[in-house]
Symmetry: C2
Subunit: 520 residues, 2 copies
């Protein structure tokens, strides 16, 4: 039996990672098992091995799919902190939350993303419906509104989206990544919800403490009006707009070259655009452009400029104009924007690396700008695309660039001497002598029942030193030490890990003492 068992074990290890359960089951030693049965098992395993056509080495690749990653507990702790800050802000503004499936009917996504549609992940046709993984949260949101005939909602949605992009994981670009959207849908008076979206960006970036930032604002109607009055042909609006969008990474000279040489725009039109897109300011600039002899010829541009004025008035009441700049070069990529658009960028030196990273970034939406950490705008037509009767539900929203924020927070955590705690454990229940497992279990049970976050080592007789070391490593601030003497005296020795101070606390007072000492 030993010999055969060994063969079996060897066959088994060759198969590890393939079908080990078969092996493991065959190795169970049952009373009454016969040599013949083992022979049979071994034969089965060898046959299986032959079928696999392998030479005894496993070909098994232990990795996550390309462009994806696991989050370890430390990353999760940072992620949780960032999410909590953002969600707190969304809730402060009265947002509800919804969730949608990770995949949609393929046709729901069709025709919404232009050229980027090639980046959509499709599911295999296994019979039934054709499905695709969601590409963003905005299209599912619009589908949700139309499907449920909802005309008013303020909601946030935090979930993963999927793009078969060329991942650049060292630069924080993944194929699976979080989006973090806040949107206000409904027919309301001009610029009130739009202003709230900017207030939210301001609050979140302040609270996350990522350094100084600017929020650039523009309006799709101003851009379109500007193109019209500068003599850009209608059918070149989109392509010229996407060239303008590169101004945050390219010089004006290069942008102009692309317009004229590649896109066939007249030099005169390009120069006129160049004048406008260099303009930055506040309400005063909007005022000035409303008087501009050329710009004022476009009704569209005027409507956009009036709204920008109104927006700035509301932003003044919110005391956030210090960070907001009306910037005519801002031209966000997405087709579905119909009104105001905006984008927040970090302006500090610490984001230079992010700036360099963005250089090779060709995805219009993601690469929006150097250190871009939030963006959004008004999209009044999208929901209507899903409604059988084309009923429009005006929407305005903002997406927080959570992955870039994660990266920055992770870098900050790495640079900080303070360790990131991955649990919130307040106390370890330890023993100073042997044979006190039962007493530890009893005590920790009392603590759990009182809502105290507590751990113990899963050993019958752990050494006191290793229990204390565990606390140091995990950042657990307190230890409740049980020993023969303490049990006799009806006390627990409470040790403060940082100072090594120890004090006897009566069992009756222990819970309130722990709570007192660990109150945030």
């Amino acid at each position: 039996i030993t010999m055969l068992g060994m063969i079996c074990v060897r066959a088994c290890s060759a198969l590890v990672g393939f079908r080990a359960p078969t092996c493991v089951r065959s190795l169970h030693s049952f009373p009454g098992i016969t040599v013949a049965q083992i022979d049979e098992e071994v034969a089965k395993l060898l046959e299986l091995k032959a079928q696999l056509g392998d030479d005894g080495k496993t070909q098994f690749v232990l990795k996550t799919p390309k462009g994806t990653r696991d989050y370890n507990p430390k990353q999760m702790a940072i992620r949780e902190k960032v999410f909590n800050t953002i969600i707190r802000c969304f809730k402060r503004h009265g947002a509800e939350t919804i969730d949608t499936p990770v995949f949609e009917l393929k046709e729901t996504l069709t025709g919404k993303y232009g050229e980027d549609s090639k980046l959509i992940y499709d599911l295999k046709d296994q019979g039934g419906e054709l499905l695709s993984l969601r590409y963003d949260l905005t299209v599912p949101f619009a589908r949700y509104l139309a499907m449920n005939k909802i005309t008013n909602i303020k909601r946030y949605h935090i979930a993963k989206v999927y793009r078969r992009d060329n991942p650049a994981m060292t630069r924080g670009r993944y194929r699976e990544f979080y989006q973090c959207d806040f949107d206000i849908a409904g027919q309301y008076d001009a610029m009130i919800p739009d202003a709230e979206c900017l207030k939210i960006v301001h609050e979140i970036l302040n609270e996350l403490d990522l350094g100084d930032f600017r929020i650039k604002v523009n309006d799709r109607r101003i851009l379109d009006g500007m193109f019209a009055v500068c003599g850009v042909p209608d059918d070149k609006f989109r392509t010229i707009c996407s060239t303008v969008d590169k101004l945050d990474k390219m010089s004006w000279e290069d942008v102009k070259k692309e317009m004229v040489n590649e896109k066939g725009l007249s030099e005169e039109a390009a120069d006129q655009i160049g004048e406008y897109v260099s303009m930055q300011g506040g309400m005063d600039l909007a005022e000035r452009l409303l008087q501009d002899h050329k710009m004022s010829q476009s009704k569209q541009a005027c409507a956009g400029l009036s709204d920008i004025k109104l927006l700035f008035k509301y932003l003044q009441l919110f005391h956030v104009t210090d960070k907001v700049v009306f910037d005519l070069s801002l031209a966000r990529g997405l087709d579905y924007y119909t009104g105001v658009i905006y984008e927040a960028v970090l302006t500090q030196a610490g984001t230079v690396s992010a700036a360099n990273e963005a250089q090779n970034d060709t995805n219009a939406e993601e690469s929006v700008s150097v250190g871009s950490v939030a963006g959004g705008g008004r999209y009044d037509g999208l929901v209507g695309m899903f409604d059988p009767k084309g009923r429009r539900v005006p929407c305005v929203g903002v997406s927080i660039g959570i992955e870039r924020i994660f990266s920055i927070m992770e870098q900050k955590a790495e640079a900080s001497p303070q360790k990131v705690r991955t649990t919130e454990v307040q106390i370890m229940v330890a023993s100073a002598q042997k044979n006190l497992l039962e007493e530890r279990l009893q005590l920790i049970s009392e603590l759990w029942n009182a809502g105290i976050k507590a751990e113990l080592m899963y050993k019958k007789n752990p050494k006191l030193l290793s229990q204390l070391q565990y606390c140091e490593e995990a950042g657990i601030p307190l230890v409740a030490i049980l020993g023969e003497q303490e049990l006799k005296d009806g006390v627990v020795k409470l040790r403060v890990v940082a100072t090594r101070e120890e004090v006897d606390i009566s069992r009756a007072d222990l819970i309130s003492e722990i709570k007192r000492r660990t109150e945030a």
Copy 2:
């Protein structure tokens, strides 16, 4: 132009849901647009329509994929409450959390789920790796441990998993659903982590207040030993085990019939099994079976029985034995269990509907029992399947049946006269007269900055009545009313929605007054 515009609009509405962006853009009225350009646009649209081959009616289906659903804000509020309770418990026990991608390499999932592999969602081969959506959280966890060579961790993971099962959505069974797993990995002394898992189930079910419950406990080794001593041939262990698993939905007579008639077991063996699987008890039963002349012949069974004894000893120290029963008929479906297994069931009348639902449920893992709301066990072999050297990392864990719990909580919420709030808004900033939008914006900004959850209506001049009605509907407890007089006096009229009581509060005291009145 009007005529052509109308044609364009009509063509456009025929295309709604397909390519509206083209339409929307074509409808922008630019200064300088010519009739010829509009003609061209109309022609393009009609051509597009012809390509789509539709007769003017949209074929667009507005739905989520089969077996999936959106969560509306009310469902999300309930979901959040349940998650918070569960996460609080996991954190109280010192668990970290991790996250893994929604899809894995196809080969990672291969050979882990036996027959159920046919239920795995595969992604379309779009070049690159072959991918599948995760089927549970346990296999990705094992892959994560092996890949990162982690030998000790206590972690929870709450995420969606995917199964191409026959959905029974009215009965709470979906193709996309949450799993909520807590696992302890590491080489520890027997039964200490196992006992903690049961303590956790006890705490969560108590706190969720779902009614009375029982936690059934058994051990894979006791089952296997029992089969061996009852004369079940080795190669029939699995299939007989899955028949035993049906005892919670079928009578013993029917189970016996299936064993003898369908699975070809001898009547004598079946009867012997029947004697054992009718046994329920506590530590005493384990003690008695250790003396049982037949059972004691199996070393495996003895090892399992000794561990059950030890488990009960620890559970006594946790004061949870009132809910725990050692039940020899418990036989959880999953192949990978190697030691103790357990399952929590609701025992109250309120769960009868759940009981009926389970009748047609054929999925071994999901259908575990009438009103089953948690389950798990020890699986010491799974991580080794992913390790190139087959190194084992013993694991024990529990999965909370969160979807069933959601259903129950939703039913309870429906039945309750108390409305589920979908936001946490504390106060609405309202105006009693016209032309006070700016004052409202200024005040709400102060409140937001002070961390108060506040809303206003996005209208320049909303009616006071409609503002108050909104509060009633949304369950907002307070209203800050601004009027000319209040502004003159430097106060805000604070109204309690429930009692209609109103009191003037000075602006300086407003924030502390709101906090005082809305403290939970």
